[in-house]
């Protein structure tokens, strides 16, 4: 994260991050303000914060957001990297810290450390078909990549987005998906696990959409994000069509405390997810991906 801070941006800086003779402390949060909080679903919120001057991120990276006195949580950045004045996260309130973050109000102080992690390899998509498979909240860390692909559409071949959600009332970013579906430069399919009578869209797990999508498996790059089970089956679905393991990328999640590779919590096989991920090429993870409790 850039440490440059301009005076006109109201971001409270740590009193003395670099003490005489010592290095900066990467565990110090930068205190900024909540700009906007919006409920997206039953327990899903959009949290927009005021970024520090010069803050920039890559699609797929995350921040550690700190609720004063409560704790930190690793939250995916879900906004458009091109919108420099806005820093948007999507949070599911499932625990003490995430619930505290979603209860913040505009103007409240909030701590940020980041951005961390390796993001989606957008450069690998040049000239290839792009297949994005998003399950549930997994659409959030993929959204910045989707914005980038729209912005640089001519760089890639076909653009396929397959979205799986639990039920119609829980479709994340529904209005935005509707707008995207009307575009001519993307093949967007949304499916739900089950639905009531009003739903006129697809019903069935997201993997059922894969065989019908139009893309060239030999020249495709795939980004997959969602619950691990869903990612495993999506990988199997793509592999059955001939997409190579090296062309599939997933975003992994584990318990995180420091996000800087020093606390050991996010270890996954030979990697630390905060530092070597959260985005990985599937061929790198294949030896351990289906192992229980690894």
């Amino acid at each position: 994260m850039s440490t440059a801070q301009r005076a006109d941006v109201e971001v409270a800086t740590p009193a003395s991050n670099a003490l005489a003779g010592s290095v900066a402390d990467p565990m110090l949060p930068v205190i900024t303000r909540v700009a906007r909080v919006r409920r997206e679903g039953a327990d899903i919120w959009t949290l927009e914060i005021k970024p520090a001057a010069g803050f920039d991120f890559l699609p797929g990276q995350f921040n550690m957001l700190y609720a004063l006195g409560v704790g930190e949580a690793a939250i995916s950045i879900s906004g458009d990297p091109a919108e420099r004045g806005r820093l948007i996260h999507t949070i599911r309130a499932v625990g003490r810290v995430s619930e505290a973050l979603t209860r913040l109000k505009p103007g409240d102080p909030i701590g940020v450390r980041g951005p961390y992690g390796r993001g989606w390899p957008l450069d690998k998509a040049a000239g290839a078909d792009v297949v994005i498979i998003a399950g549930g909240l997994g659409l959030a860390p993929l959204r910045p990549a989707i914005y980038r692909f729209f912005a640089e559409r001519p760089r890639i071949g076909r653009f396929v987005l397959l979205v799986g959600m639990r039920q119609p009332e829980e479709i994340l970013f529904q209005q935005e998906l509707e707008r995207w579906r009307r575009r001519l430069d993307i093949d967007l399919q949304v499916t739900v696990d089950h639905a009531g009578g009003d739903w006129r869209g697809s019903v069935g797990v997201v993997t059922t959409l894969i065989p019908r999508a139009a893309f060239d498996p030999a020249h495709t790059i795939a980004f997959i994000c969602g619950p691990e089970v869903m990612m495993r089956f999506s990988i199997a679905g793509l592999a059955a069509l001939g997409v190579p393991a090296s062309a599939m990328y997933v975003s992994m999640e584990r318990n995180m405390k420091c996000a800087i590779g020093l606390c050991g919590h996010c270890q996954f096989g030979t990697t630390f997810i905060c530092r070597d991920g959260p985005v990985f090429a599937y061929d790198q993870l294949r030896p351990i991906f289906s192992l229980r409790e690894i």
Binding site: R166, E170, H194, G196, V203, G204, V205, P227, V229
Partner: protein, 154 residues
């Protein structure tokens, strides 16, 4: 056989790659059908006399329970088969099938097809090799659905 049915059967993706003699046998049990949007192809408990291969439109598979709106657990797109309970006794539909859009389909007489499978085992094998993979894929997808992966665990 209804005139032209062999052409319709031959051109449907579900039967692509099958030999001509197999196509002719299937076509002999087949007819064209059409359902307006919202109409039911069949209801739970009905005799599974005729199953369908969608040519145009989509079909929703539903389960109804008293006091609740019907829950759709699967939608079948163009090209897919609707109805598999004709394969095993007691040959009764296990749920409702409703046309989401205007649906045009090939309707296949299940008794006719079962009869031909029984008397010509090579034909029967060819048919099973078409339908069994559909069963396996649907089962795998259904298992995934049951896991409710997007739900929160508390």
């Amino acid at each position: 056989m209804i005139e032209g049915m062999d052409k319709v059967v031959r051109e449907h993706r579900f039967f692509s790659g099958l030999g001509e003699d197999v196509i002719q046998l299937v076509a002999g049990c087949a007819r064209n059908v059409r359902f307006d949007a919202g109409k039911y192809l069949y209801h739970e408990g009905d005799p599974a006399d005729e199953f369908f291969l969608i040519r145009h439109g989509r079909v929703a598979l539903e389960v109804a329970s008293p006091g609740r709106a019907a829950v759709t657990f699967q939608t079948e797109p163009e090209g897919d088969v609707v109805g598999l309970s004709w394969l095993i006794p007691p040959y009764r539909w296990a749920y409702d099938a409703r046309a989401l859009d205007l649906v045009r389909a090939i309707g296949i007489d299940a008794k006719c097809l079962r009869g031909k499978c029984e008397s010509d085992h090579d034909f029967g094998y060819a048919m099973m090799m078409r339908f069994v993979p559909v069963l396996v894929e649907r089962l795998q997808a259904a298992q995934l659905q049951v896991l409710d992966v997007y739900g929160t665990t508390r």
